[in-house]
Symmetry: C2
Subunit: 380 residues, 2 copies
């Protein structure tokens, strides 16, 4: 597929708990911001994709109705934590196929009102029903990783500290406060070795992007930002030994995304990655090729992944600090990437960023890596 | 967009109530039948779309896991009653864009175990919460239609009788019995003027299709069946007068689908349309251009839409008789279309069929026509 889609505009709500608002209103805020940022009228949108993991029915239609924006094709997509990113991939594909020229992508979820958890009443969802919920799964991976590499809880805590370094500079983040290693370690235990501040919060939010052709993006006068790679994969389900400390799914998806974009991990100036739990960020440094297997604790300690480091990761605050309204996260990552590539990220700007990678993964069904991973590479 | 996708194989479960089975097993049955029909191995599938309206999380991944078919891109799509049809459109687009050559499309829902209804706890879903559920909405439309056109409850009953003429010949149908006008009229009242047999049943089921390029379809040796048109639209939300007796949404979607396929309603040899309630079939005869506005009762009475008529509609039994496991319906319609176009529809075969139209519409949010309509046109 020819990756010929460009991000012309982005916008998002602050991520936080907003039980007093309707999800329609939350989504509309993001949509209107993205349209304004792109400088396009509502009528310019030819098609819409809405990514939502909690998957109320017809989410996109419901959000767009009171904006007078129904009457065009609207498609809702769901891929757990990768729902928003998957929606972007479908939008790029519609443009590549010549089905539409200007497409709106919305990511949205409202955990305070629409809830979360497993499929109601589905006994086949065995592992979560037996206690293997996400914090427990990642805690198990963390324990094994610590055993294999000598990483400590202090290393884990430092991931959260770094997340808050970015988040405190991000007006869209759920948390705006700095935290110390001591505070992270002292927060209440959730799933050993994770204390509360080592887990992403629940919350609400929406993010939107306008994607279009090169010609139309150029006419809008904004800096051209191409979606140079957009890869989606699902996990492998195999009996037998699995290495808990590695993410084969993210490795495989990253390989495809890098190939599409014609770049390697060394070319990435900035990455927004799926740090739902602190161990995830360390594992994904390795899976994305930013450092060798087992090298993540030292890579973190080196400061490379801080805003002013050689490979900044999650300047937004990531899931740990910006928050994680599930379906919205993939598009929030795209917002952050675009702001950096345009030089509009304010105090948390990664200077001179030209290549940004966004990474979502989740929805693990019955254990490890069986969900969806989506990686997008944006190039200015 | 160049419509260059071909349906190489189809398969479905019987539609019925199967609370004793898991939805994974139901989905797997349809997938394996479609693969077998296409004559392709599991590894030939490069990408998967799963349409489900009840939108458990990661439905496609869950169904495919135990078939060893994860590890490739899987995307779940939701557009209420049009979920399956929307999934087909995305598959055709992926092929048109060159993203994949052979794509599996699955439609699935299990109402007996995953339930239905509105979004839990969403107060903004006002109309259903106030009683404007689907039977009530269509009953209101029926009353107005009867007032405008002089149609009677006998006309409505005859739609159900015709549906059972096809369904009794369809081994996949939820109901296999013939019914008489008297029986339909005498069944218990649901929403005046609808008695029970004038409403589609709830149930469970799955349907799948393998879609591929012309070259690959030809190599598989089956009759070439092209998806010549695949249109999706969402409803318009406008204050003020709305004509309850017309479906502007279906009219608009049909216009696009006909344009893509380069045909008109006169060229359709066979249509599978969304007869969730008897009045729907009459309204959609008109919206699809099969007869003039207000002409549907006479068109029905003429016998034109019976299996051996000039414009056969719902030889499968339609939603009224084959059943309506929501997300599965759009792909079940494609199965039926393919069987007729290949001459494999057995006793209910529409002789010489070369052009088939499938039509889904639903998800109306707060009233009329605000949901999704998807129309696919298949040409042998």
């Amino acid at each position: 597929m020819m990756n010929n889609a460009y991000v012309a505009g982005v916008g998002m709500t602050r991520f936080c708990k907003m039980p007093e608002r309707s999800f329609e209103e939350i989504g509309q805020e993001a949509v209107l911001k993205a349209l304004k940022d792109a400088g396009v009228e509502r009528d310019a949108i030819e098609e819409v994709f809405c990514g939502s993991a909690l998957t109320g029915r017809s989410m996109g239609q419901r959000v767009l109705r009171d904006l007078g924006m129904t009457g065009r094709p609207i498609t809702n997509v769901e891929n757990a934590c990768s729902s928003g990113s998957t929606a972007l991939r479908e939008a790029c594909t519609a443009i590549a196929a010549g089905r539409a020229e200007t497409v709106l992508v919305l990511g949205i979820d409202q955990l305070t009102r629409l809830g979360g958890g497993t499929i109601p009443g589905v006994e086949t969802d065995l592992d979560p029903n037996l206690g293997m919920v996400m914090p427990a799964l990642y805690a198990m991976r963390a324990r094994r990783y610590m055993q294999e590499t000598g990483a400590t809880r202090v290393h884990l805590a430092k991931v959260a500290v770094k997340a808050h370094e970015g988040g405190q500079l991000n007006p869209y983040a759920q948390f705006r406060n700095p935290v110390t290693v001591e505070e992270v370690l002292a927060s209440r235990m959730v799933a050993d070795p994770f204390s509360l501040l080592m887990c992403c919060p629940t919350g609400d939010g929406a993010a939107a992007a306008v994607v279009t052709t090169k010609k139309k993006a150029a006419a809008l006068g904004k800096k051209l930002i191409r979606v140079a790679g957009t890869a989606l994969q699902s996990g492998l389900y195999k009996p037998g030994f699995r290495d808990l400390t590695r993410s084969e799914l993210t490795e495989r998806t990253a390989k495809l995304a890098y190939e599409q974009a014609g770049i390697g991990p060394e070319d990435v100036d900035l990455a927004e990655i799926h740090d739902a739990f602190v161990i995830a960020e360390l594992m994904y440094y390795e899976a994305l090729g930013f450092c060798p297997p087992g090298g993540a604790p030292a890579f973190l300690e080196s400061g490379a992944t801080r805003i002013n480091g050689s490979k900044p990761v999650n300047p937004s605050g990531g899931l740990l600090c910006r928050g994680h309204p599930v379906g919205a996260t993939g598009i929030a990552q795209v917002c952050e990437a675009v702001w950096h590539l345009r030089g509009e990220a304010g105090e948390r700007q990664v200077e001179g960023a030209k290549v940004a990678l966004t990474h979502c993964t989740g929805g693990g069904v019955s254990g490890l890596d069986h969900g969806s991973c989506a990686i997008n590479i944006l190039v200015a």
